[in-house]
Amino acid sequence: MNRLAIPKTYKLYIGGKFPRSESGRVYEVRSHQGDFLANAAKGSRKDARDAVVAARGALGGWAGATAYNRGQVLYRIAELLEGRRVQFVDEIMGCEGVNAAVANAQVDEAIDRWVWYAGWADKYVQVAGNANPVSGPFFNLSVPEPTGVVAIIAPQGNESLLGLVSAIAPALVAGNTVVVVANENAPLSAISLGEVLATSDVPGGVVNIVTGSPAEIAPWLASHADVNALDLVGAGELDWVELQISAADTLKRVLPPESGEDAAAPALSRILAFTELKTVWHTKALL
């Protein structure tokens, strides 16, 4: 007789903890064939706000960590993901109805993407910064810094884990903290990624994952005054123009939706999209 399996309760990931939605709501996640997989938490406006509070609280520590340290922490995510790949392959096969080879390829790419972005942490400043030859007795240096709290609507397409990783990794490189609304139809790998983050060295609150309806949650994040930037990469099916208009009230930096194979493709420009260039003029003495 087969052993009766222990199914997992999928909850939110906020501030390094796994709370249920404060609303008490859940929604059914079903496999491609229509079988019941889990009840995922249906995050609310207040969950999103709690996530922003957690992200703001974690910002000083994460942005203030050395670039070398952030790079190692991001690399450790890849290590842990590699070790738990079987779980992700199962979830992807269940949610997305793909075979093991396809699911494995997605996990491979997701792991490699963490490694690629991890390597940027102590290099993007050198590539994007500048020493400026001003015509005067000044030492003048421009360096990119993190924008702050970044709200992300994760890609809602077929590759749930890869889409999520592709969206959050570049924002983390520079030291931003993140509130991400996961893939609505395939949220399981997002919460499992939260477990990877929780057991890696990523400080609580640096990544906050809310499952539920992006259409319901996104407007609260777009208008939230303590969110500095909005990545609409996965918002193509929402009324994203309204979201962008709403974000304009607090002059958020906004990345538009992307579609197709190349959505959220790995790029230095995705890192720099959530940075601010600071230029400091230092007076030189006249000798």
Binding site: P257, G260, S269, E276, W281
Partner: protein, 515 residues
């Protein structure tokens, strides 16, 4: 004459030959606008300088069409080095006509001639020189190999540094290969129209730069025009928000340089005399009509009284009056409207309990003037500590520790500029790291250079002007050919825009149906 009395030393207006009416500059020639013309006045005398045309929507349309035609037919086909040569020519012509431009700017804007002569116009020339050299080196601009221009850039600029803001906008746009429609501020159109004459002298191809004048309605028509690819705006945060809303969902690239409430932090080990000069430069330069002004003085409590005493003494020597006089430090406020706003906020400062002190200076009978003013006993909740006054009004707050200074400096929705005064290098570096502002001046203030990027954090806008980074606002990466794998990394995906959004929705639903 008493000590510190000076004989008048007015700069001559003789080298200016202004017209009584100015039209719009579209497709290389001046044409009459179809809106109602308006007068531009000298804010120091309230006398009319000239009548300026108003561009209505049809004129805006003509200007955008001319820019598009010039982009498709001429400018995008030129080599980078030829574009650069035009920019070098413009830089030289600005230098040659520098005195004339300085006088015109002072007449129209009200700022002192010593500033237009020594700061504004030299920086205009410097900006064109700097970006001229970039035109054939765009592979090194930081957006990848063989980057592409955006197309037609719509540029709307403010009245505080009229010709300098024009240069900040036009030079990088042309170097990157774009064509331009620029709208100067309503009260300061004059030097932009003189600049149009310089473009004629430079023989810049018709339509590459078009200058249309008018009020906010003209600006809105330009920004909302469907034929443009880029919007660059410098001005108030409220207008910036409106522009950000209006371009939402389009593929227009947007850069915004908006308001500020810069903190100028003076530590107890600062060289006080230099700091006082820096405080004066930070808030009284250009009558405080500076988005990056050091309008909040944060002074360490232990030296507060000494700094304020010395600052008041220094302020008593500031000479307010005829902007054309070479000895004038404080010129006229640019408009009656701005003067009313400065007065309103200053009165609020008193009502809220701050202590007001202004230097003794004789206010001329005609024109718009405001004496250099400081408020002490200001708390962080006061309107004068939060709102951008955009005038010669300084709010003084105190702090005890570096942490408190940083917290107070960052306690604003703005994030454009900040100053740090200290003799201790390690402290300057540590404090500079923590300030959320795009430009930080250590033991100096209000320095600008074309090689140095300028722009804000938070609600002070986004995008940078100046330096290599200033080019990125006018370029896009080469079209990718691609694989999504990390081996082909570092290319850009196609963003969804309003236009392509409905198409992609269709294809997405078709995909679903196919399954």
């Amino acid at each position: 004459m008493k000590f510190l009395d000076y004989a008048p030393a007015p700069e001559s207006k003789a080298l200016l030959s202004l017209k009584s009416d100015y039209g719009l500059f579209i497709n290389g020639e001046f044409t009459a606008g179809r809106g109602t013309p308006f007068q531009t006045i000298n804010p120091a005398t309230e006398q009319q300088i000239a009548m300026i045309a108003t561009a209505n929507e049809a004129d805006v349309d003509d200007a955008v069409s001319a820019a598009r035609l010039a982009y498709d037919g001429v400018w995008s086909r030129l080599t980078g080095s030829d574009r650069g040569k035009y920019l070098f020519r413009i830089a030289r012509l600005v230098q040659e006509r520098a005195r004339e431009l300085a006088v015109a700017e002072t007449l129209d804007n009200g700022k002192p001639i010593k500033e237009t002569r020594d700061v504004d116009i030299p920086l205009v020339a410097a900006w064109f020189f700097y970006y001229a050299g970039w035109a054939d080196k765009l592979d090194h601009a930081g957006v990848g190999p063989n980057p592409a221009a955006l197309g037609v850039a719509a540029q709307v600029i403010p009245w505080n540094f009229p010709l300098m803001m024009l240069a900040w906008k036009i030079a990088p746009a042309l170097a990157a290969g774009n064509t331009v429609v620029l709208k100067p501020a309503e009260t300061t159109s004059l030097t932009a129209l003189l600049f149009a004459e310089i473009l004629q002298q430079a023989d810049l191809p018709d339509g590459v730069v078009n200058i249309i004048t008018g009020d906010g309605g003209t600006g809105a028509a330009l920004v909302n025009h469907p034929g443009i690819n880029k919007v660059a705006f410098t001005g108030s945060t409220s207008v910036g928000r409106a522009i950000a809303r209006s371009v939402a969902g389009t593929d227009k690239k947007l850069s915004l340089e908006l308001g500020g409430k810069g903190a100028n932090i003076v530590f107890d080990d600062a060289p006080i005399d230099q700091a006082v000069e820096g405080i004066v430069r930070g808030i009284f330069f250009n009558q405080g009509h500076v988005c990056c002004a050091g309008s909040r003085l944060l002074v360490q409590e232990s030296i507060h009284d000494e700094v304020i005493d010395r600052l008041k003494r220094r302020m008593q020597t500031l000479r307010l009056g005829d902007p054309l006089d070479k000895n004038t430090d404080i010129g006229a406020i640019n408009s009656a409207e701005q003067l009313a706003r400065i007065r309103e906020l200053s009165d609020l400062g008193e009502q809220e309990g701050a202590q007001r002190w202004s230097s003794d200076c004789v206010i001329p009978q005609e024109g718009f003037w405001f004496a250099p003013t400081i408020f002490t006993n200001v708390s962080t909740s006061h309107r004068i500590a939060r709102d951008e006054i955009f005038g010669p009004v300084l709010s003084v707050l105190t702090f005890r520790t570096p942490a408190e200074a940083i917290a107070k400096a960052n306690n604003t929705p703005y994030g454009l500029s900040a100053g740090i005064w200290s003799d201790k290098g390690s402290r300057i570096l540590a404090v500079a790291d923590k300030l959320r502002a795009g430009v930080i001046w250590a033991n100096t203030f209000n320095q600008f250079d074309p090689s140095s990027p300028f722009g804000g954090y938070k609600e002070s806008g986004y995008g940078r002007e100046g330096g290599r980074h200033g080019l990125a606002a006018y370029l896009k990466p080469a079209v990718r050919s691609g694989s999504r794998s990390i081996n082909a990394a570092d290319q850009q995906a196609t963003p969804v825009t309003k236009k392509s959004a409905s198409a992609s929705k269709k294809s997405a639903s078709a995909e679903k149906a196919a399954k």
